[in-house]
Amino acid sequence: MSGFGGFVLRRTVGALVTLLAISVIIYVVFYVTPGNVAQISCGPRCSPAQVHQVAQQLHLDDPLYQRYWHFLEGLFAGQDYSTGTSVAHCPAPCLGLSYQSDRQVTDIILTKLPVSLSLVSGAMVIWLVLGVGTGVLSAWRRGRFTERALTAVTLAGTATPVFVIGLVLMIVVCGELRLLPFPQYVKFTDDPEQWAWNLLLPWLSLALIEAAAFARLTRAAMLETLAEDHVRTFRAYGVSERSVVGRHALRGALAPVIALNANNFGGAVGGAVLTETLFGLPGIGQELVHAVKVVDLPVVVGMVLVIGFFVVIANAVADVLYAVADRRVVLA
């Protein structure tokens, strides 16, 4: 399988190149901005002298390539920052300091990450079960009312913005029926039961949208497999329809589902930002929206880089898993 090994290697190198390119693009785009970075970071009431001081502190007068190199250095080796009165050390994956709070961006991300991971991982379980289940059901009942109804529902599902579903769920479940209190984040380590109850609605809102995409993909992939010759052979040998659909066709859907799950990661993160903001969950998404509103560039750049990192890794993993699950794929 040298061909496969080579494929994995090429994909890994490609991912690394992409990551580096993304870091350059993001750095250039955000720090060669039309606005004055020093002015922004200092605040609107800063005097020109203070702005100049901040510019020096942030090395804004250095040429761009030097500043980027400095940034990379911080990422891989850590950095020392003067905060005016003292010198703070920012250890290895250093993404800089927040303009607003002087906290290290890495710290901010690390404190927010558990919330976002709680949201996305829980929702992922729901959307995979629900999505694949619905897809299997509608492939099995193809041509009948069940399939047509499910197709319509999933189409509406893929089309609805996540915050609309979330809003409606929240108002119906928490406001009108009072089945659940309005969600408030509780740490898993504090109280796992409350953690789950409070995350239930955010999970559902995020999962329903994603599940619709998986349902459509599963159904399509299964129908495609069902039309293949080997399935016709199974049928001819008298294998039951349930076994044909449940085992053989489902296997054919496995590869695209795996690929979509990893490939969809970027989209799910976008959905998570909306879900967090809607339900007031203190995760990465909410922090990013806040940082964008107050133009806290190091936080914005750091978060985009971290999210981009995850997305590129997820995409690379998707391609490799896809090749593993479906050996028909061309490894060229």
Binding site: T18, R142, V295, M303, A332
Partner: protein
Amino acid sequence: MSEALVATQAPGTDTTVPGASGARQFWRRLRAQRAALVAAAVVALLVLVALAAPLLTALEGQDPTTYHPSLIDSARGGVPIGSFGGAGGGHWLGVEPQTGRDLFARLVYGARVSLGVALAATAIQVTLGVLIGVASALGSRLVDQLLSRITDIIIALPLMIMALALLAIVPTSFPRPVLVTFVIGLIAWGNIAKITRAQTLTLKGLDHVAAARLSGWGTWRIARRELLPGLAAPVITYAALLVPINISIEAALSFLGVGVKPPTPSWGQMLTAADVWYQAAPQYLLLPAGALFVTVVALTVLGDGVRTALDPRAASRLRVGTGAKGEGRAAGAAKGDDGTPGAGKEGAA
């Protein structure tokens, strides 16, 4: 990687080289789908409402930006006075809590923003994508490598996150709807470029293009006269699916408070504060949410119908609408086997 996609994706789209009769065929096939027809009617109505927004509000005698402090009860936190959120003869759908702005006017002007931003952003995406895709396919090896790499990177960037971040750095004085349009348009052209490149590579090998080349036509003339007609089908198909996605993104950004900002109305933005007011003025939540839902679903169904009409074989084989990311992969999974029956032929919804 892109090589694999190209090799597997092309056969699905090579049946469509529409000329004048192709267009007629397209309409016939589109009309045959009941769901797509209904969706097209809804979309046409929405466009009409958006275009006639000033007329409609003049008919009502209101405008979307005037505050009506007399219509809200400031003692109760700004709840609209009267039943049904102040709906009545003067304000057809009631007024906004706290400001007293006319809801009907904001809703119809919001349609302008939603549709305008989404269509303009789609136009940017298609222009950029087609230019880059064609240049990539017709250019030298180096150009192709470079452009393909850039395209891959653009696709790898998470759209919502990049759009959010880009909105942070542009001065607030820039008109927001235009800004949102450009941000969406400039980030999400990657898939169109990829599809265009693949299709152009296929077309390049066809006889009529080779003949044009042998006749000594220039690259530009070949691209315009021989390639663009063949590119129409896949590009239109994908663009039709991009419009509802763009609407959702604009709504999402405005909902987060970084997209279109007041006083310019936008459906997503109207929903930002709606959850607080749902008991006193339920329509403040239901109207923009419903408008968004209906618009996006109608456009998605229409997009599905367009796809089926342009390429019935691929549509019956796949019939997936997994959005931007799933697209290439699903096509890759399809492997381009010819004529796989059994996937059913009925309409999308």
